[in-house]
């Protein structure tokens, strides 16, 4: 159950997007978030949607997984679009009590849904095509300047990569503990919210205990392999900016330009 969540997974591959420098991908993703919230009309949104689509296609990952990643946020999309639907201004097309739907409300709802979906698709594209290690490595390198103010950059990157490594292991363990508790008659599916939360306690306690035990083991294993912090460490996989990354940045720049142009010159529908 918990295991078939596509969001945040990594699919090894050799596509153009896979081979981009992870640092470039992270920076582009940050820029992308800013862009998507700076689109003020459908033309500008269209440009970013086209850009997103281009990247999804270039990532050569089955659309199935992208749909899967959307599945878990579909509730949020519906909820926010419903809210927006009823908050429109202008002449009501339909009204019932205080609820009214306007043309403005509909376009707002669509706009917000598209924004959220794009955001999820883009973040999926990032995690699908970048291995957790590349990601943490990139974050470590991007944050390196912070070392000057004694920010523990290496430690945080190490923590992140260990956390990512143990997510599937702990999921498996949770599953096992749940089954073990069910076998002893634990009831986790019925009762009100309060009861169900309470039913989680017998799962969380063994999970925590085992996580601590694991942590101790992992630390021992790391020491056995000569780990002594970030100083003097090298990496097997070197990352360099290449021509590909420059091209990617140029497309991003074009998209930013396009969005600005659309924002200024196309009259707003909202």
């Amino acid at each position: 159950m918990v295991r078939d969540v596509a969001f945040g997974q990594y699919f090894p591959g050799k596509s153009l997007i896979h081979r981009l420098d992870p640092r470039a991908k992270i920076l582009m993703f940050i820029a992308y978030i800013v862009i998507i919230f700076c689109t003020f009309n459908f033309a500008a949104l269209g440009v970013t949607v086209a850009f997103t689509a281009l990247y999804l296609i270039l990532s050569r990952i089955s659309p199935k997984f992208y749909f899967k990643s959307l599945k878990i946020i579909i509730f949020i999309v519906i909820f926010t679009s419903l809210l927006n639907l009823f908050y429109g201004t202008g002449d009501p097309l339909w009204q019932w009590g205080i609820f009214k739907i306007t043309l403005n409300g509909i376009s707002r709802a669509v706009f917000v849904s598209v924004r959220i979906i794009c955001l999820i698709l883009a973040s999926s594209c990032l995690t699908f095509t970048t291995s957790p290690n590349e990601l943490t490595d990139a974050i470590e390198r991007l944050m390196k300047p912070l070392k000057v103010i004694h920010f523990p950059v290496h430690e945080i990157a190490m923590m992140m990569s260990l956390a990512l490594r143990f997510v599937p292991t702990l999921l498996e363990e949770t599953d096992k503990i749940m089954q073990a508790q069910k076998a002893r008659g634990a009831d986790m599916e019925s009762g009100n919210l309060f009861k169900r939360v309470k039913a989680l306690v017998p799962i969380l306690i063994p999970l925590f205990v085992s996580a601590f035990r694991r942590a101790y083991d992992v630390a021992t294993a790391m020491e056995c392999r000569c780990y002594r912090g970030g100083a003097g460490r090298t990496r097997m996989k070197q990352i360099h900016l290449s021509k590909r990354d420059v091209v990617a940045f140029i497309t991003l720049a074009l998209v930013i330009g396009g969005v600005i142009v659309c924002n200024i010159f196309v009259t707003s529908v909202l």
Binding site: S131, V218, A221, M222, C226, M236
Partner: protein, 280 residues
Amino acid sequence: MSFVSIRDVRFSYAQEGEQPVVNAVDGVSLDIEKGEFIAVIGHNGCGKSTLAKHLNAMLLPDSGSVVIDGDDTSVEENTYTIREKVGLVLQNPDNQLVASIVEEDVAFGPENLGVEPSEIRRRVDEALKAVDMYEYREHAPHKLSGGQKQRVAIAGILAIQPQCIVLDEPTAMLDPSGRQEVISTLLKLNREQKMTVVLITHYMDEAVLADRVVVMDSGKILIQGTPDEVFSQVELLKKHRLDVPQSAELAFRLTGCGLSLKSIPLTQADCVAMLEEAMR
């Protein structure tokens, strides 16, 4: 001098200032030569794991000394030189893999040592090939079987290029086929690369494969010698609640019934041959 020389080591898990109740390791002396395959057996709590952790300076003796290739483990500056020479593989394969991709995990050791990237690549490929996991190099560790994970863990140690590899019950959490994979990998490393192997185990049929068997009981070495020498002392082992290989057990009982046998067989094949001869 031997590659590893352990002299009258005593160690207890008691906190500082506390009076030690029992010593986990209680006066052990042992020499290990380069290229040897040693099995250490004993039941739970006999101190074999504690002894293993002394070999790469994870634990330091309370008294006595452990000297690895001329370096004393109790000297702090030697710690990392020693860990480069003696690699330790632990019991739980899941908790030893620190990266989300097999090859990146194997690279962890050499990365810590500050090895050049191209050299790390070479070592990782070599180590993965040595344990027959090369084709899995881009897989996620959690999708591998127990035996495969443990082989990756061994590769992770091999990439450090140690001279000796110590394994603390590496097969305890594996199924029979996984155990077989790990043990044949170890035998191959020992035979082909002359790797010194110290295998801590409680499976007697694994111990039989070693050059030398060391039996531990309550923190002390009970007996040591070739598998033949050790497992022929069935009575002594039984007195200390230790198992012997099934075929040795059978031979022992047959002898008890009055059958005279030339030697104690250690493997199934030997046992069959011996019985055939006895029948004639």
